[in-house]
Structures are given as C-alpha cells and as structure tokens.
C-alpha cells in the first residue's frame, strides 16, 4: 500500500513527496494519492465550524422572531404562551444537536465524501484500504469527532463561565483538546483519532484537464517541406544528452512557458548539443527537439530501458 512501490518510475513528482501514497484499486491498479496536509484539514474544520455556527445562529434568530411574533399574538394571556414556547425550545435543542452531528454525516455520505469546508479546500474522505467508503466508517469517524472536539469545547466554555471551576479542570480540558487536535501531526498519514477508528483518511482531490498535444507542429509526419519542424534533423548524439527529467521539464516549458523561457531553454539546448542558436523560431525548434527526444526515450522504454535524467548512464 505504501512505501514499497515508491521506487516505481511512474510515481509522480509533487511538491510534497512526504504526503504521497499509493492506493491499490480493487482492479489491482496502483493509484497515486496525496494525503491532505494538516493545514488544509485545519482550514476545512474551521470553515465547517463557522458554517455550523452560522446555521445555529440563523435557527436561533428564527426562533426568537417566532417567539416575538407569539409574544405579540398572546399579549393578553401568558398561560397560552407556554405551549408554543415549549415546542420552539424542543425544535431548537434538536436542531442544534442535528447540526452538530448530522452535518458531517450527511455531506461525507454524499458522492463527494466531503463537507462544504472540505470541498472548499479540495480534500475528501476515503477508505484507507482502497475499498468502498462505507456508511459505518463515516459514522465512526464522526462520532469520535464529537469527543475530540465538541465535548471538550463545551466543557471548556462551561468551566470558563463558572468561577468555581478550578483551573486544573480547565487546563485538563485544554490539554485534551490539544492532544486530539495535534494527533494528525504525529503520524505520517495525518490520521486523526476518528480516522484511526474508522479506517479512513483524508486525501486531496485532483482535477486536471486534458492538455493539448505537447508539440502540435512537430507531431505530424509529413514528407513535404511546408512543415517548418521537418527542417530539423537530430542525430543520435544530439538526443543522447538528456533523460526523462529533462524531457518533462521541456514539456512543462512548451505547455506553459513564455517567449523568454523558450529562448533561454533553446539556447541552453543548442549549447549542449553544439548547435548555433538564434534562428528566431525557438518554439518550432523546441517542439522538433522534444518530439525527437521523446520518440527516442519511448523507444527505449518499450525495450525496458529507462533513463531517469541526464546524469544517469544511457545503455
């Protein structure tokens, strides 16, 4: 599930290699996933708490408004007023309970397995073993959340409002919260207590568009001379100086680079293979070189020879 496959060549390079994991799909295909960073988790939680508090506030205000309405309606008879007051109080207590507990359940059981806060920072819940995320797992991880977070928070608020409470209990509550809040930092998969119990983890969403073909002008094989890319011919020596790392850097430049970056890269390639730079159509040159280099490296790949970068020996 994790480290053993990390030496495989197709494991992707990301900015956070410590959080990269491999999850084997039920079909047996290894999929690259990235564990959500602690900062993203904290941000999502903060957002969710704000959302829940907002919902509670809205319900409270609605209740107060209705109460005020009743107050006007039953201005003459205070006895008749008690019935609707009771109903309102029941609705309020139940809805606060539901917001606190059902909010996470409802959203994490949905197709995106993420609350609004998690969606906003682009993370989601998944089963750690690569299997189906079950309803039981979602319930388990959220029941534990109650003990990790809400219970001590309520406890802290109670102790801070009562002067009689000793500072010892306040500190105990504080350390309790801290212990659970920091728990994800002390394991490499960023699991909190609930994730541990439920067999889940939180990973990053990926959303990448299918880009264009990297080198469209050089991609077509043409016999005629109208294609400018066919002006360039590269020898084996010209192509043997670089490996996959350089190829992907070049791909990146071709996909996103501006004119200046293209010129710099073209100049350094020309220097490396002993050509004369400065023909003015760097993009065409780079596309032609990219296509030729990739064709060469992919041919090697099909025979099981891979060349990681320019420092590794080419067989």
């Amino acid at each position: 599930m994790n480290d053993t496959a990390a030496v495989e060549p197709w494991v992707r390079r990301t900015a956070t290699p410590k959080l990269d994991r491999i999850m084997i799909s039920p079909e047996g295909v290894p999929l690259n996933v990235t564990v959500a960073a602690a900062g993203a988790r904290a941000g999502a939680l903060a957002l969710d708490i704000v959302i829940i508090l907002t919902m509670i506030t809205v319900v409270t205000i609605a209740c107060l408004l209705i109460l005020w309405g009743f107050g006007v309606a039953f201005a003459g008879s205070p006895e008749a007023f008690n019935g609707p007051l009771g109903v309102l109080a029941v609705i309020w207590i139940i809805s606060v309970f539901l917001f606190r507990n059902a909010y996470f359940l409802y959203f994490e059981l949905g197709d995106r397995a993420a609350t609004w806060g998690k969606r906003a920072v682009g993370i989601r819940v998944a089963a750690r073993d690569g299997g189906r995320l079950t309803a039981e797992a979602v319930i388990a991880r959220n029941i534990v959340r109650d003990v990790e977070l809400f219970l001590p928070l309520v406890f802290l608020m109670q102790t801070s409002t009562q002067d009689t409470a000793s500072s010892f209990t306040a500190w105990a509550g504080f350390i309790w919260v801290l212990m659970f809040l920091l728990f994800p930092l002390f394991n490499k998969d960023r699991l909190r207590g609930g994730d541990l119990i439920a067999g889940t983890w939180v990973i990053q969403n990926v959303k990448k568009g299918l880009g264009d073909i990297v080198a469209p002008t050089a991609a077509m094989q043409t016999e005629d001379e109208t294609n400018p890319a066919s002006r360039y011919e590269f020898s084996e020596e010209d192509l043997s100086v670089y490996g996959e790392y350089e190829l992907q850097t070049l791909e990146n430049v071709l996909r996103t680079g501006n004119e200046e970056a293209l010129e710099t890269v073209a100049a350094s390639i020309c220097q490396k293979i002993g050509w004369q730079p400065g023909s003015g159509d760097e993009r065409i040159f780079l596309e032609a070189y990219y296509t030729a280099l990739r064709a060469r490296l992919e041919r090697g790949m099909r025979f099981g020879k891979r060349r990681r970068d320019k420092f590794s020996r080419s067989e």
């Binding site: 197709w10 992707r12 799909s25 079909e27 999929l31 008690n82 019935g83 009771g86 109903v87 029941v90 207590i93 139940i94 606060v96 059981l109 949905g110 197709d111 397995a113 998944a126 750690r128 073993d129 299997g131 189906r132 995320l133 309803a135 039981e136 797992a137 979602v138 319930i139 388990a140 029941i143 534990v144 109650d146 003990v147 990790e148 219970l151 207590g193 541990l196 119990i197 439920a198 067999g199 889940t200 990926v206 959303k207 990448k208 299918l210 880009g211 073909i213 990297v214 050089a218 991609a219 094989q221 190829l247 992907q248 791909e251 990146n252 296509t291 990739r294 064709a295 992919e298 790949m301």
Partner: protein
C-alpha cells in the same frame, strides 16, 4: 508491442500520420476519456439524475478502460501532462464507482432491517463485560453509601442531590417520584435529556480507544451514582417505587448506555489485542461495527428521552411504570435477538 496501438481504422488516417506512438495512443482514446470526464463531473456536482441511462451504464466500462489506458500510458508514454490527467481522472471515477453508493435513507432502511441487531449480536462478549461492570458499579455505590453515608456526596454531583440526600424524609422523597413536576416543560426537558444522555453515550464509546479503560470507569461511575441513590430511597422503604420511577425510561436508557460502553470496550479490546491483524486494521474493523451499534444507541436515547420527559410524568403509578418500562425492554431484547437473522443464514 501493443496490438491495439497498431490497429488503425480507415477513418483514423489523420491519426496514423502522427509521429509518436504514444500520441497516436492518446488520440485514439481521448474520446472515451472526455466522455467519462463529463459523466464524472456531472455526478460530482450532484446531477447524476440528469445523466442518460446509457451514460450511467457506461460508467463502469469506461472506468475500467481508463484504468487500462493508465497502465499502458505509464509503460509507454513520457507525456507527463497526459499521465497526470489519467491519474486524476482515474481517481475521480474510482471514487464514484466505489463510492458510498448509499443515501442516508437507504442506509437507515438496511440498518433497521437487521444491520443494527447483527452488530449488537456481534459484540455480545463486550455486552456481558459491560453488564458485569455496570452491576458491579451499582453494588459498589450502594455498599459504599450504606457503609458511610458521606460517600453519597462524593458520588452524586450537587445538581441531582436537591432533596434526595441521606436522611431526607419519606414525603420529600416520595414527592420527587410522583407528580411533582409541572407538565408544561416536559417537551423541553425530554429534548434536553436526550441531548445530554447522547453525549454521555458518545463519550462512553469514543473513550474506548484508550484500551477500553475510560469506558469501563465511566460505566462504573454512572452506576455507582445510581446505587447510591437507590440506597437513599431504600432507607425510607421506597425501593419498589424508585425502581419503577427509574424503569420507565431507565430500561431503555441504561440499555443504551450499556451498548455504548460495550461498543467502546469492543474498540478498546481490538486495539489492545488485535489478534493476527495489524493494530490499525483491527481498530477499523471493530470501529465500524461499533459505529453501527452507536447509531442505534442514539435512536434508543431519543426513545428514552421521550419516555423520561413524557411517559414518566404522565404515568403516575408504580404498576404502570413497571409495565411500560419492562414492556419496552422486552421489545428491545426480541428485536436484538431476532431481527436480521434471515439475512445472515442466506449470506453464509
């Protein structure tokens, strides 16, 4: 190398002129990929109902094709952008194909039809342990206060011990059992009790993962409180009335707390003694089973809150309270022992 790479249909004349094999591979398949991407995007936005039947049926096939494309691309293509795209799309569609696939409503139906009672039966051993602990706690509480009534004040927090203290008169105690509460605030009281008890049950469960010890302590403490209270009433010959007062909701509530504690012990036991599995695997298997029990515990506590708030004040005689309390207990027992057995037999 790849036979399918070499196969060219006549309409693909354009593709055949592409220089790189891996680019040809991509051009031949990108139609399927973009179709899958559209389906996935729609589903992620919660618009799966708008998809045509064809698209829904095609999803698993397209997903498997995509996975094979990904495997081939990893071995044959050095187009990092393409591989990134395939990786991302594979992961997204994997989550949809192997998603939760259940709505809250459908899950609840399965849950009541047998999922809950099966989970309860699966933690039988822990239920017996928890029951033993609870009985022991009550006995200890009773015995401690019987030995030295000062223990009462150590065990019972101030808010409960209004008039129910050692040495209170029979009338004062009887007043707390029968008809003293005004019936206006019952609903609020019930809702408050539910919310409060649910937190205790959740605590009893979730503390289990510290090797079950906090769960056991919590059970002992709660029941010791009960035992102490029982002694106060027994001193004035009100044992039967007190048990009746307690039974009407207590059979459900104590049963729920018993289950919650048992669920906590179950998780703690799995972490402490994982058997031949890893600690994490054992914890998550036990955690999921216990979560089912806990969802049921919440439902039982809603019932208990309603009984406590309404039925206890409305049924003001001891015989009636016994009838309601133990009738409900019988119902729970029949449900947990009987429900959902059929599924299991046909499954195994």
């Amino acid at each position: 190398m790849n036979a399918d790479l070499a196969v060219q249909t006549e309409g693909d004349a354009e593709i055949s002129r592409v220089a790189l094999r891996s680019d040809r591979f991509r051009l031949e398949r990108e139609g399927d990929w973009t179709r899958l991407e559209q389906i996935v995007t729609q589903m992620e936005k919660g618009r799966s109902k708008r998809l045509s039947d064809e698209d829904v049926l095609a999803l698993p096939t397209l997903y498997r094709t995509l996975l094979s494309s990904l495997s081939i691309a990893r071995e044959n293509s050095l187009d990092a952008g393409l591989i990134d795209y395939l990786e991302g799309l594979s992961l997204r569609s994997y989550f949809l194909v192997y998603g939760t696939q259940t709505s809250l409503g459908r899950w609840l139906k399965e849950f009541f039809a047998g999922g809950w009672s099966r989970a309860v039966r699966a933690i039988q051993v822990e239920i017996w342990i928890a029951l033993f602990v609870m009985v022991a706690g009550a006995v200890v509480g009773y015995a401690l206060v019987a030995g030295d009534s000062d223990w009462f004040y150590a065990l019972v927090p101030g808010q409960f011990a209004d008039v129910r203290v050692p040495g209170a008169s029979e009338e004062a105690l009887r007043g707390t059992l029968f008809g003293s509460e005004d019936k206006e605030g019952l609903g609020i009281f019930a809702a408050y009790l539910f919310s409060n008890n649910a937190q205790v049950a959740i605590l009893a469960f979730a503390l289990g993962f510290a090797f079950a010890i906090p769960s056991i302590l919590l059970l002992i403490h709660n029941l010791a409180l009960l035992g102490a209270m029982l002694w106060v009433f027994a001193q004035r010959g009100l044992t039967v009335e007190f048990v009746g007062w307690l039974s009407i909701h207590g059979t459900t509530e104590l049963f729920a707390i018993l289950l919650a504690g048992a669920a906590g012990i179950h998780v703690g036991r799995a972490i402490a003694f994982p058997g031949d599995r890893s600690h994490l695997a054992a914890a998550s298997a036990a955690g999921k089973r216990a979560a089912l029990v806990m969802a049921g515990v919440i439902i039982m506590l809603i019932c208990a809150g309603l009984l406590e708030g309404f039925a206890r004040q409305l049924v003001d005689n001891t015989a009636g309270r016994y009838a309601v309390g133990y009738g409900i207990l019988l119902f729970w027992l029949i449900y947990f022992i009987g429900a959902g057995r059929r599924y299991r037999e046909s499954g195994s």
